[in-house]
């Protein structure tokens, strides 16, 4: 997994609460592998109309935000379906950080697994950053994970993130390696558990 430390880049405001993973990546692309170009169909139905024409009013279609590496949005970003491919779509499009007041739980977990930072600010701060970006679309944001800050023009916002997730992103750690180091504890647990909860094992093929 790629590390995340500090990022300066164009930031695309999408002022919609409850922007769910069906909007981030419509279900019909779930059979795609990443190699098929999932990043190209990010926000597909929000970006294009039924005839396949670009909707000019959807923020990421605006020239200043086309190459955004940051998305700023409203509460409950990434709610809904657990599809990790929604994170692949954002990441493969080039997005490395989302800034929002809250996230769907499974989404933010998936994000960390893939090196995508989900920074948390208050509702007011998110609205303020989005308003500033609307006024000055070209203006880049700088997100610093070490300091937990977002630099927007002359103002610095502090964001929150779970400390464990922060460490994982900063170091690019992956779970499997960590779990390996607990191999013996797992085996012990399993042996004890089999005796304590014999009913928890599924019957053999009935």
């Amino acid at each position: 997994m790629d590390k995340f430390t500090k990022l300066t880049g164009a930031a695309c405001p999408i002022n919609q609460a409850n922007l769910n993973t069906d909007q981030i990546l419509p279900a019909r692309y779930l059979k795609w592998t990443r190699a098929m170009g999932i990043g190209n169909v990010l926000f597909q139905d929000l970006r294009f109309d039924a005839e396949g024409r670009e909707r000019p009013d959807f923020p990421i279609n605006r020239p200043a935000w086309r190459c955004a590496t940051i998305v700023v949005s409203a509460r409950n970003f990434g709610c809904g379906s657990s599809r990790e491919a929604a994170v692949y779509a954002l990441y493969d499009y080039g997005i490395r950080c989302v800034i929002a007041p809250s996230y769907g739980d499974i989404f933010s977990g998936n994000a960390i697994q893939n090196g995508l930072l989900t920074a948390i600010v208050s509702d007011e701060e998110a609205a303020e950053i989005m308003a500033k970006l609307e006024q000055a679309p070209e203006f880049p944001l700088t997100v610093d994970l070490e300091e937990q800050t977002i630099l927007c023009g002359n103002r610095t916002y502090i964001f929150t993130i779970d400390p464990v997730r922060r460490m994982r992103l900063l170091n690019g750690w992956d779970d499997i390696a960590l779990t390996e180091s607990y191999r013996e504890r797992i085996a012990e647990f399993k042996a004890g558990d089999r005796k304590a909860r014999p009913w928890a094992i599924a019957n053999a093929e009935p």
Partner: protein, 470 residues
């Protein structure tokens, strides 16, 4: 005296292998369900060249991509055939039991697990699907995970989690006839919001919850993810044990009785503390439908949709305009004036036998003004419904009687709602494009979908009951 514990604490504690200083816990997984969508995770195993750690605790189903209309033996669409073939190959390669298309027990993962007795009280259950919360209805700790986590569970049978804050939602009183578990679920989401329970584990409690059948509890816990919750659960009781007795994979004979003894202790102790408490009164819940593009956009059927012009908050007003525009509904329109184009009865939310009976009770002797599809949650439920003659009721009403699978809930098997079409649906998500690009979804209970079918518009089922039992 021991310190009082919540059900959530008890289930968590029983699975915690390690708790690190940073607050991360490594949890043991009792059941892992996989489906066609798990191909990313199996791919990660292949990359590392490692096996599934506990194939005996892993179970597969084919549900998301299976055709629910037409032939299932020869899947005409090569992409669907590939998706179904992939889960067959991946499970076979790793010695994982699959309820595949040729298995009479095939069905939607969240229906099959409880039906087969794989889902039991006290278990920790994960699946790469957000509606895994469903299984909490039997007193399990069950939650959805992403593909990387699925790969981790396949490789280690464990998962890293941080203990979630605990929320108790108590529903007092008694639901009136015509008010179903789905209405309670939608009332809760409307009350606390689509992110009202974010990060939380929910325990549903109170007389109105205890009065629900196991099927109703499954519907309720299924929808807890739509309030943002990690998982939802109901303490197991006699109804739970009666539901499980004799299920194929559940313990049998003396082992079952011993298990019941252990399971009976799985409840929240008096005086145990929750991080949040929410209370509702079932007496005040009417049949509910959604009007917008988030499950929190839910109102009693006798209400009118909001008018953005009357909304003082600019962001909210802009959301309302967008949602009404997408849904093709005029501001302030009465819900019962909204005509529907089709209906769908199915999905892991509402496709169990009780759901089909409720819809059939309303449809019996009546015709549907619009086309629609009924898809049982499992092939066994389909067979049972046919034995009870429910299929005849649906067919006589003019609806289609399909095979079992996720079907029109998400439409990735090709059963789509057309762009601009309005569907009264027993599913769980009214997101933009969920049932097909441009499709408009109204969520409601099976009886309410049946009422909409008969009326041709969103309608209150209660005047249609006249002694019929739903």
């Amino acid at each position: 005296m021991n310190e009082p514990h919540t059900l959530i604490d008890k289930l968590w504690g029983a699975h915690e292998i390690v708790r690190r200083e940073d607050g991360q816990s490594l949890l043991w997984v009792d059941r892992h369900y996989v489906h066609e969508g798990s191909f990313h995770a199996f791919g990660k195993l292949a990359e590392r060249g490692v096996p599934v750690a506990e194939p005996g605790l892993t179970f597969g189903v084919a549900d998301h991509y299976v055709p629910t209309r037409g032939s299932r033996r020869n899947i005409a669409n090569p992409e669907l055939a590939r998706m179904v073939g992939q889960v067959e190959e991946n499970t076979a390669r790793h010695g994982v039991k699959l309820f595949g298309l040729d298995d009479p027990r095939q069905g939607i993962v969240h229906v099959v697990g409880p039906e087969q007795g794989l889902t039991l009280p006290g278990l920790l259950i994960v699946c790469g699907d957000s509606h895994t919360s469903t299984h909490g209805a039997l007193g399990a700790y069950a939650f959805g995970i992403g593909a990387s986590e699925v790969a981790h569970v396949l490789m280690t049978q464990t998962i890293w989690q941080k203990k979630p804050p605990r929320m108790r939602i108590t529903v007092n009183g008694r639901a009136a006839p015509g008010v179903a578990a789905k209405d309670i679920a939608l009332a809760i989401i409307a009350h606390i919001g689509a992110d009202g329970a974010t990060r939380h584990a929910i325990e549903f409690a109170g007389p109105a919850i205890q009065a629900l059948s196991v099927e109703g509890r499954l519907t309720l816990c299924n929808m807890s993810i739509e309030a943002g919750a990690r998982c939802g659960m109901v303490a197991p009781d006699d109804a739970t044990f009666a539901f499980l007795k004799g299920r194929p994979y559940a313990p049998r004979g003396a082992a079952f009785d011993e298990a019941v003894e252990v399971w009976s202790a799985l409840s929240t102790d008096d005086g145990a503390a929750f991080d949040q408490e929410v209370t509702l009164d079932a007496n005040s819940i009417a049949p509910i439908v959604t009007w917008g593009t988030s499950p929190e956009d839910a109102l009693p059927i006798d209400a009118s949709v909001p008018d953005p012009a009357r909304e003082p908050d600019a962001t909210r007003a802009s959301y309302l305009r967008g949602a009404l525009d997408y849904m093709g509904i005029a501001p302030g329109q009465r819900l019962t004036d909204i005509a529907v184009d089709r209906v769908f009865i199915g999905s892991c939310t509402n496709s169990r036998i009780e759901d089909l009976r409720a819809a059939a009770a309303v449809l019996s002797g009546r015709t549907s003004k619009v086309p629609g599809l009924v898809s049982a949650g499992s092939s066994l439920i389909k067979a049972q419904a046919e034995q009870e003659g429910l299929d005849r009721v649906f067919l006589d009403a003019g609806l289609e009687w399909g095979e079992s699978g996720c079907s029109m809930c998400v439409g990735i098997n090709g059963d789509l709602v057309a762009a601009g079409e309005r569907c009264a649906s027993t599913t769980n998500r009214n997101f933009r494009g969920r049932q097909g690009t441009g499709a408009r979804t109204h969520l409601m209970s099976p009886a309410m979908v049946a009422a909409a079918a008969v009326a041709g518009h969103l309608a209150d089922v209660r005047p249609m009951l006249g002694g019929r039992k739903v």
